[in-house]
Symmetry: C2
Subunit: 196 residues, 2 copies
């Protein structure tokens, strides 16, 4: 990375927690200037618009959230165990960035009609489901997951339940909904194990 | 109802679809004036503030959404069948009000720090879970649901999965996530039936 790229990455990393906590409308370029110590011109040298910076900041936040939750998962060979581990990590590992789940935050922000943020939320969900489906298909091939299991349905349930539980926990200001949902999902995943 | 109460109810019913579609910030008193044909003074005679009107509008929208989904459910005696019917209705019955799930909309709106809307979303979720738990407990008493089933966990999973699936479907602009989630939940509910 040259010096320009390093600065660009630093701006993204420092803007990410602000966008994730305050949302697109609630985060001003003034906030980003204060966080980075750069002048407005210094920021706009690296980004065409606030929208471009917000998009990169959300992508960074989502990548970080996935990265931290996935630590250690590849070492678990059995695919049912691996997915259960990922569900558990989702619930137990605190966010690296303040402000909660960046996918949900991008989704909520895109609700005001921002197609760029909606695209980022959509891609993140697609990527998450693709990884789950891949693990489930491998599990079928390895004889760990029952034949006839529908990976897409299970992936949709897991992602929907975890994101919905986060929404409930946020409203209730209590961890009960995510804890209960993780326990239920673990039971459902035990139920798709191949017999014998 | 006297004339004042009738007018108040009419304002709430006519403001509800606007708040549900555009959110709290996106709906102005001018919009409500146009929808109702009333002057600003005529509206403020019935509501202390825009916030009070928005709160009543969301409560109305949530009550309508529940009412429509619940039609016919009391006639189903078996509690597992009743809950499966409610899950199916949630997915298949179109919203009476445009703008999607009013609980999610109130939750998203409250994300900007509005405690009144957060309270309404929290109450709606609590009410929904309480009804599910009631049906599950009755199902245990009636010998239809397996002893040892934890109503709270199942209620949290059902509400989380349905609301999360709606969020995904909204982002994907596709019904697949809600359809898949309903099929999975139906299977899970079949799994809690008492044996024999």
């Amino acid at each position: 990375m040259n010096k320009g790229e390093i600065t660009r990455q630093r701006i993204i990393a420092e803007a990410a927690p602000i966008f994730n906590q305050r949302g697109y409308a609630g985060c001003s370029m003034q906030d980003v200037m204060e966080a980075t110590g750069l002048e407005k011109g210094g920021i706009y040298r690296h980004f065409e618009s606030k929208e471009e910076l917000a998009a990169e900041a959300f992508k960074y936040a989502i990548a970080e959230a996935f990265r931290v939750r996935r630590v250690g998962s590849d070492a678990i060979e059995n695919r049912v165990e691996r997915i259960k581990y990922l569900v558990r990590r989702f619930v137990e590992v605190p966010s690296v960035l303040p402000g909660g789940c960046p996918i949900m935050n991008a989704a909520i922000d895109s609700d005001d009609g921002n197609p760029v943020l909606r695209g980022i939320a959509r891609e993140a969900i697609a990527d998450w489901k693709k990884r789950l489906c891949g693990n489930l298909r491998e599990g079928i091939e390895r004889g760990e997951v029952r034949e006839g299991t529908d990976p897409r349905r299970i992936a949709n349930l897991v992602v929907a339940a975890l994101e919905g539980a986060l929404m409930i926990s946020r409203i209730e200001k209590s961890r009960t909904a995510v804890q209960d949902t993780a326990v239920m999902l673990e039971g459902i995943l035990d139920g798709i194990r191949a017999q014998g």
